[in-house]
Each structure stands twice: as structure tokens, then as C-alpha cells.
């Protein structure tokens, strides 16, 4: 009885070994065809941002083509989950549409003893939209802050509630301005709270919609509407206003999207993570960024980041 089991086990191991050899041969071939870089195997898990999800998918697709033995899993469950997953070491990559907060950093440091590695991977431009029939073309930051904030913090200002106060003629001028923005869980909301409102509060009247596309759709349907959203979902039904500073200099509202990593100060990044980040910051990786409606990180900054990334890797 025992002998039989033993012989079966032997046969099993033999078969498994053979299979492994075959796999390896084919795997090597595949890598030679696709990239010719070092062999990487195993799993990469990414947990985090919704808005970066499509981009992460595209990057990981490209990455898995280059490294067929590597499997990349992507969970898009919101930026806040990235910090938690990285802290608990349940993810290797933490895409976030906003910088980590102080509390999240502290939690990570408490767990690991060193801060997380922050790599900007794309930029997103936010634009201010109005209905296509709206005669307004230009708005300045002070007016925008006054419109959206419960109590303006950056600049002292009066109140703006009607379109006439922005210089729009009747009949639209008589109507109240309907405000549209993203919901409070989004990175956009947090970014605007910091950059536009100087950490002040939003008015409770601001409609909080669950997506950038929803904001644009809502503004497209409301003649008295004004909304702030990413330029990715822009359509012909809305008009983007030109943004100006106080001194009439044109300006843009641009936020940075990040991937956070767990890089040990001595051991450095894992080889797979490093290869992935190199791909993300490569020319092809940044072309994908632009295809998805975001803006690429400027090349000079990328070069610095790549150097920084290599620096975090310890060579045995």
C-alpha cells in the first residue's frame, strides 16, 4: 500500500518537474520575444483609486505582455483603501488620486518604520464648465472660490448667488447659480477643498455627484449650472470657462495622481514593482496616460523619479 503511494508520488513529481521545464522553456522564449529583460514571476497586487483604474489596467496589460509569468491584480476600491492596503502589506502598489494624508502616513510609518514611497504618475487638469448657451467665457479664482465656499478663506469676498453678479444679462442673470461638483469621497473634492477653498468648507448647496461624467451631464442639462470636473469626459454640450488669477493671468487647476509603494530603505523595492514603475514612467507608459485623457509627467521630472527609484533598490 505504502509503496504504491510512493511510486505514485514519484510519478507525480516527475510529471510536475517535466511540466516545469517545459513551462520554463516556453516562458523564456516568450520573454525573449516581448522584452528581452530580466525574468520576473509571481503576483503584483494593486489596491486603490477609482479614477486611476482604467490607466492601471492599461499599464498592467502592457506589463503582463512584457512579463507573461507575472500576474497583476487590480482592485479599484477608492484612494483611501490604497493607504490601508499598503500599510497592511496586502498590496504592492497603491494608486491614489490624492496625496496621502498625515494620518495615513503616520499609520504606515508606525507599521513599517519608514515612510511610503510616493511616485507621481500622471496629471489631471480640472476645468470649470457651464451650459453651452451660457454667455460667460472667463471666471477668476476669487469668483470661483466665492461661488463654491461657505465662507471664503483665501480672499475676502462678498457673496455670489445669481448669474447677474458674474455679469450675465437677464434672463439667465436673474437665476440662481446651480453648483455641481464631485462627491466628498473623491480626490477631486479634497483637491479643490485645499487649492480652491484654502481648506474652507464647501457650500451645502453644491451638488455632489458620483462621477466626473455625471457632473458634465448635469451641467449639460442645466442652463443655470456651473460645475468643476476633470477634462477627460468633456463633451460638446458644455462649455469650458477660461480660468484666471486675480491679475488676469490665465491659470489651470491641475492635480497629481500617484502610485504609493512600500520601499524598504535598505532592501529597496521588489524587482517586479521596480519594473512596473519603470514601465509607468517610460515613454510608452506616459503615452498611455495621454490616451486616457490625463496629462503626462514632464520628462525632466520623470528622469529624476527614475533615478530616485533606482536609488531605492539595493544591489546585492
Amino acid at each position: 500500500m505504502n509503496q504504491r503511494i510512493e511510486s505514485r508520488l514519484h510519478a507525480f513529481f516527475l510529471a510536475a518537474g517535466l511540466w516545469f521545464v517545459v513551462l520554463q522553456a516556453f516562458g523564456d522564449e516568450a520573454i525573449a520575444v516581448f522584452a528581452g529583460s530580466e525574468r520576473l514571476a509571481g503576483n503584483l497586487t494593486s489596491t486603490g483609486s477609482d479614477s486611476l483604474n482604467s490607466l492601471m489596467q492599461a499599464w498592467s496589460l502592457l506589463f503582463m505582455q512584457q512579463h507573461p509569468e507575472l500576474n497583476v491584480q487590480i482592485h479599484a476600491s477608492g484612494s483611501a483603501t490604497a493607504a490601508v492596503a499598503l500599510t497592511e502589506s496586502t498590496a504592492n502598489l497603491g494608486p491614489m488620486s490624492r496625496p496621502m494624508t498625515q494620518t495615513e502616513r503616520q499609520r504606515f510609518e508606525k507599521m513599517h518604520g519608514y515612510p511610503p514611497l510616493e511616485i507621481p504618475v500622471a496629471l489631471e487638469t480640472l476645468a470649470v464648465y457651464v451650459h453651452r448657451t451660457n454667455p460667460l467665457n472667463v471666471i477668476n479664482m476669487n469668483e470661483l472660490e466665492t461661488l463654491f465656499s461657505a465662507e471664503p478663506q483665501c480672499q475676502p469676498a462678498g457673496r455670489i448667488t445669481r448669474w447677474a453678479e458674474l455679469g450675465v444679462a437677464s434672463p439667465l442673470g436673474q437665476r440662481r447659480i446651480s453648483l455641481y461638483g464631485r462627491n466628498s469621497a473623491s480626490g477631486t473634492y479634497g483637491f479643490l477643498k485645499q487649492q480652491l477653498l484654502c481648506h474652507g468648507d464647501f457650500k451645502p448647496e453644491v451638488h455632489e455627484l458620483p462621477g466626473a461624467a455625471a457632473v458634465i451631464q448635469a451641467v449639460a442639462l442645466a442652463e443655470n449650472g456651473i460645475g468643476i470636473a476633470g477634462t477627460r469626459h468633456q463633451s460638446a454640450a458644455v462649455k469650458a470657462l477660461q480660468l484666471q488669477q486675480q491679475d488676469q493671468q490665465p491659470m489651470t487647476l491641475q492635480r497629481t495622481l500617484y502610485i504609493y509603494l512600500n520601499a524598504h530603505p535598505v532592501i529597496g523595492l521588489g524587482a517586479a514593482e521596480l519594473a512596473f514603475m519603470r514601465l509607468v514612467l517610460s515613454e510608452t507608459g506616459q503615452q498611455l496616460v495621454e490616451q486616457h485623457g490625463f496629462e503626462a509627467i514632464p520628462p525632466e521630472i520623470r528622469a529624476g523619479l527614475l533615478q530616485h527609484l533606482s536609488g531605492t533598490v539595493h544591489v546585492d
Binding site: G78, T101, Q106, Q174, S186, P204, A218, L221
Partner: protein
């Protein structure tokens, strides 16, 4: 082996087990929520920490002088550790600076309006200046541009005050001889206290995360303490009362959370969300209750058996309609249409029922004059409905022109009533539609189950159908109809998808029909995925979930009780 008896026994055990496990699961959810929410209401505590584990580095340290630290010639310089600085003279004259780049720019100066003061400090990482006067009152100010805004005063212990020490962006210690008190600034609540030895304290140190404190009475006499205060703002009563937050001009009920911004001072008032939930449910019930009850009574009492069955089936189908679809239609079709055709909507609302009633009355008189029996006027009803709608379409623009200068919206705006596209009327209609089937089904059931012997008896006595209905059927079925309405209310309170899509999620107070709202359910769905683990925000959301659970549980219990009662009543009759 498998006798009838054993099979019976086994099946009974299995069924009982499954039944109990479902009940247990429900109880577990309840207990889980309670357990999660419990820490919110735990008071802050200062407890002695054993020295060995107190190896955390202390970043902030405050020396305590035995006498007051200021004189007229040496003004006190206070600093929030970031970008604001206040220079305070002994007579209450202040100069407020802001850091711009590397320079400190004078923003404003003036007099605090206090003749003298004992101690002052600036909260670290915030913009609030705290000054204690001789009568143990702590005043708190913050600068809004060129203006000082006062927040509510805090009254300290009537003892000699040695120092005010900032703990966090929102709390401070007041140090007295032999006594340390801990206050929360925004809510003004006393958080905790600590008895100190009589030896004069020399130094107080705080760790960066403000979880640890070390007190020094001399070079070799020190003690570490643990500060426990996960949710001071909530414990301070922020949930249900108006709070004057830094940066605002007055106290308000505010719900505003941002996962992205560090919220040392979250705005977590449940009042706007609760009022939003009640408002949404209220308007939905206002729309759904009369329609559903009338439709149910009609189906049960006037329709022939064949049609009754079909209507019931259709209603059941409506009930299973995904609410996402209703939400989508409400947000992207109904809301823009209503904004364009507001006048038409109101004219339809008034005209259609009026025309219907008028036409049936006319029809009835005409038949009576001809000495004929007035039958079911189906065709007349349809015709008058069409006539009503057509008249409304023709009349609306004319009326709008005559009464409201061509635009009801602009006229309303002129009256100070601002119409928002996503408002309570839209929610009333969309969610009302979702609620109608539940009210309809139960009402129809109780009305049609009124014992036939009763109705036929009343009819045989010569009562008309209306008399039978109003004086017999409805009173008998009343508890059942009430149960149906409550069931609908429970459904409306728990509804989420329509609200997320069509309300605009604006946390406003009040019951304005032309404004939107933000409900508890929508907040849960929108904010839960991004709320940081262990934060007050997440716990308050779970509290909202608990509230909803308790509310729906109560309503459903009431419904069951009412149904039971009506079943007994029918048996007795």
C-alpha cells in the same frame, strides 16, 4: 430506518436551525454596528502609562514658569507651528502675522477688548488664539481676513491658572496647581481631568500623535500618561447640536467630510442628513400615498375579478423594477423636463383632477335627466382625462404669459424662491413611484379581504357602493391601510439609488420643495468606501446605518403588529 417520525424530527431540526441562524445573523449585524459605534461615545481619558513602554520621542515640550510669563515690556509671542503668529501685549493689544514665504507679514492689529489676561496660547496647527481672563473665562478667536471672529467662551475651574497648553488643533490643557484639565475648543466640552501632586510642575511633553504625555516635576521625577480621545468632537455633542467651527462666522449644523484633506476637525452633524432622509421620504409619501391607496381601493372594490388579477400582477412587476432605472430617468429626463415645463406641471396638477371630477358630474346629470342608469363611465373618464391634459397644454403658456411674465422660473427667482433642478418634487415623484407598489399590494390585500358577507349585507340594505366603501370597508380595513403606508415609509427611508442619482446630495436643512437634500443612505453609499479605518467619520457613518436599521426595524414591527390585528378583526367579523 427512515420512519415518518424521524424524517419529521430531522426536518424540524433543520428548519429550526436555519430559522435561528437567520435571526442570529440579524442580531449579529446589530451587535457589530453597536460595537463599532460604541467608542464614539466613550469619554476621553488620561491614564498613567508604565514607564517602560514610554519610549516614544516627545516632540513638543512646554516649560511651566511659576509666575505669569508676561510683562508689559516683554510681549508674548504665540505661534501655531505653521504660518500664523500673534504678538500679545499685557494690555490686550495684539498684532497678527501671517507667514508669506520667509517673511512674517502683519495682517491685522488691534485690541482684544480685555483689560487684562492671565494666560494665552495658539492652538498648534490651527488658526485659533485662546486667551484666559482673570475670571477663568477662555475666549477663542480666529482671524478671517481682516476680522476677528469670536467663538463660544469656555469656563475653566475657579482656581489659580498657571498655563494654557495647546494639545491639538482642537483641544487644550489648562494647568492649575495640583490639577490638569482638558477641554475641546470647538464644542467647548470638558474632556478629562487629572489630579497632580502638589510639587510644582516644571515641564510637560507631548508625543507627535498626541497619544502620550510626560510630566516632569524635577530632574528625576517624571511620569508618562496615555491620552485616550479617539472621537472628542462626537463625544462633545457635535452630532446633534450646532457647532461654531473655525473659519465660519456662526454656529451651524454642518455635514462635510473629505477623505482627501486631513480632517483634524471633521464636520459631522447628523441633523442635515436626518432631515434630508425625512424630507425625501415625506415628499415621496405625499405623492405615493393617495395614488396607491385610491388605486388599491379601486382595484379591490370596483374592478372585475379578471382585471383585478392582472392589475395586481402588473404592480408586482413594477415593484421589482430596479431603482437605478428610476433614478436615471428622474435625474436626466424628468428633472430637466420639469425645469422647462414647471408651469405646465402645476397646471396639470390642478386641471386634470378638476376636469375629471367636473366631467363625471356633468355625465351623471345628463344621464339622470334622460332617466337612465348611470353606468361605469369608462369612456367618459378617458375622454375627460385627454381633454384635461390638452387644455393644460394649451392653457399653460397663456397663463404663464399673463401671470408670470412668460417665465414662472424667473418670476419665482424674483420672489426669492430659487428653483433647483434636482429637488424634492422630483424625488417625490421618482421615489413615490418606487413606493407605490408596496403600499398598493398591502392595501389591495386588506380591502379585498374584507369579509364578503359584510359588504354584501350592507349593499343588500340599499347602501350605494360609495356608502359601503366609506362607512364600512375603509373603517374596517383602516389598520391594514395604515400598515401599508408604514411599509411604504420604511421602503422610502431605506431607498438609496434614486437619491444618489437624482438629489444632488446637498446636505441642506429644511423642507423646501424646490431644493435637493442629502440622505443618510446616500451618504453611506457615497462615503463608506473612502472613509479611513478607525476614523470618527467611518464610525458616524456606521451610527447612521444603525439608526436606519433601528428605524426600519421599528416600522416593520409596527406593520406586523397592525397586520396581525387586522387578521384577528377579520376572523371575529
Amino acid at each position: 430506518m427512515w420512519t415518518r417520525k424521524s424524517r419529521d424530527c430531522i426536518s424540524r431540526v433543520a428548519v429550526t436551525l436555519v430559522g435561528y441562524s437567520v435571526l442570529l445573523a440579524f442580531a449579529l449585524i446589530f451587535i457589530f454596528l453597536l460595537w463599532q459605534v460604541w467608542p464614539l461615545f466613550q469619554p476621553a481619558k488620561i491614564s498613567v502609562q508604565s514607564l517602560e513602554s514610554a519610549s516614544v520621542t516627545m516632540v513638543d515640550s512646554y516649560s511651566v514658569q511659576s509666575t505669569n510669563g508676561h510683562t508689559a515690556t516683554h510681549p508674548l509671542m504665540l505661534d501655531n507651528g505653521l504660518d500664523e503668529r500673534v504678538q500679545l501685549q499685557a494690555d490686550g493689544y495684539f498684532q497678527w502675522y501671517l507667514r508669506v514665504g520667509d517673511d512674517w507679514q502683519l495682517q491685522m492689529q488691534g485690541h482684544l477688548g480685555l483689560a487684562s489676561w492671565q494666560a494665552a496660547t495658539m492652538l498648534s496647527g490651527s488658526r485659533t488664539l485662546l486667551v484666559a481672563d482673570k475670571n477663568a473665562q477662555v475666549y477663542s478667536w480666529f482671524r478671517l481676513h481682516q476680522e476677528l471672529i469670536v467663538r463660544p467662551r469656555i469656563t475653566l475651574r475657579q482656581m489659580e491658572l498657571q498655563a494654557l497648553i495647546p494639545v491639538s488643533a482642537d483641544s487644550f490643557f489648562s494647568l492649575h496647581p495640583g490639577q490638569l484639565d482638558w477641554y475641546h475648543v470647538t464644542t467647548g466640552k470638558h474632556l478629562a481631568e487629572l489630579q497632580l501632586p502638589d510639587t510644582p510642575l516644571q515641564q510637560l511633553q507631548l508625543s507627535e500623535d498626541r497619544q502620550l504625555m510626560r510630566l516632569h516635576w524635577g530632574p528625576d521625577h517624571s511620569q508618562a500618561y496615555q491620552l485616550q480621545w479617539q472621537h472628542p468632537a462626537v463625544a462633545g455633542g457635535q452630532l446633534w447640536s450646532a457647532v461654531h467651527y473655525e473659519g465660519r462666522r456662526e454656529a451651524a449644523y454642518v455635514w462635510q467630510t473629505a477623505a482627501a484633506a486631513d480632517d483634524s476637525n471633521p464636520r459631522l452633524s447628523l441633523i442635515p442628513l436626518t432631515s434630508g432622509t425625512l424630507k425625501a421620504a415625506g415628499y415621496a409619501m405625499l405623492f405615493a400615498t393617495p395614488l396607491a391607496i385610491l388605486a388599491a381601493v379601486f382595484t379591490a372594490f370596483y374592478l372585475p375579478e379578471r382585471w383585478r388579477y392582472r392589475t395586481r400582477a402588473t404592480m408586482e412587476m413594477l415593484e421589482s423594477m430596479p431603482t437605478v432605472i428610476l433614478g436615471f430617468i428622474a435625474a436626466f429626463l424628468l428633472a430637466p423636463w420639469l425645469e422647462q415645463q414647471l408651469m405646465l406641471f402645476f397646471v396639470l396638477l390642478v386641471l386634470v383632477p378638476t376636469v375629471l371630477v367636473l366631467c363625471s358630474a356633468l355625465w351623471f346629470h345628463w344621464r339622470q335627466r334622460q332617466q337612465q342608469q348611470a353606468e361605469q363611465p369608462g369612456a367618459v373618464l378617458v375622454l375627460s382625462l385627454v381633454a384635461g391634459i390638452l387644455t393644460a397644454f394649451m392653457l399653460a403658456p397663456a397663463l404663464e404669459h399673463a401671470w408670470f411674465d412668460d417665465s414662472l422660473l424667473l418670476w419665482l427667482a424674483g420672489q426669492g424662491i430659487d428653483y433647483q433642478q434636482r429637488n424634492a418634487l422630483i424625488i417625490g415623484m421618482a421615489m413615490g413611484l418606487a413606493v407605490i407598489p408596496s403600499i398598493f399590494s398591502l392595501t389591495e390585500e386588506v380591502v379585498s379581504q374584507v369579509p364578503a358577507s359584510l359588504t354584501q349585507g350592507v349593499l343588500a340594505l340599499g347602501a350605494s357602493r360609495w356608502q359601503t366603501l366609506s362607512s364600512m370597508v375603509l373603517p374596517v380595513a383602516a389598520p391594514g391601510i395604515l400598515a401599508a403606508v408604514l411599509l411604504g415609509l420604511g421602503r422610502a427611508l431605506g431607498e438609496t439609488m434614486i437619491l444618489i442619482m437624482a438629489t444632488g446630495n446637498t446636505p441642506l436643512l429644511g423642507f423646501d420643495p424646490f431644493e435637493g437634500m442629502r440622505t443618510l443612505t446616500a451618504s453611506l453609499a457615497l462615503e463608506m468606501p473612502e472613509a479611513a479605518v478607525g476614523s470618527s467619520h467611518l464610525k458616524v457613518l456606521l451610527l447612521a446605518a444603525l439608526l436606519l436599521l433601528v428605524l426600519t426595524f421599528l416600522i416593520n414591527t409596527l406593520v406586523s403588529l397592525l397586520r396581525q390585528r387586522i387578521r384577528q378583526r377579520y376572523l371575529q367579523l
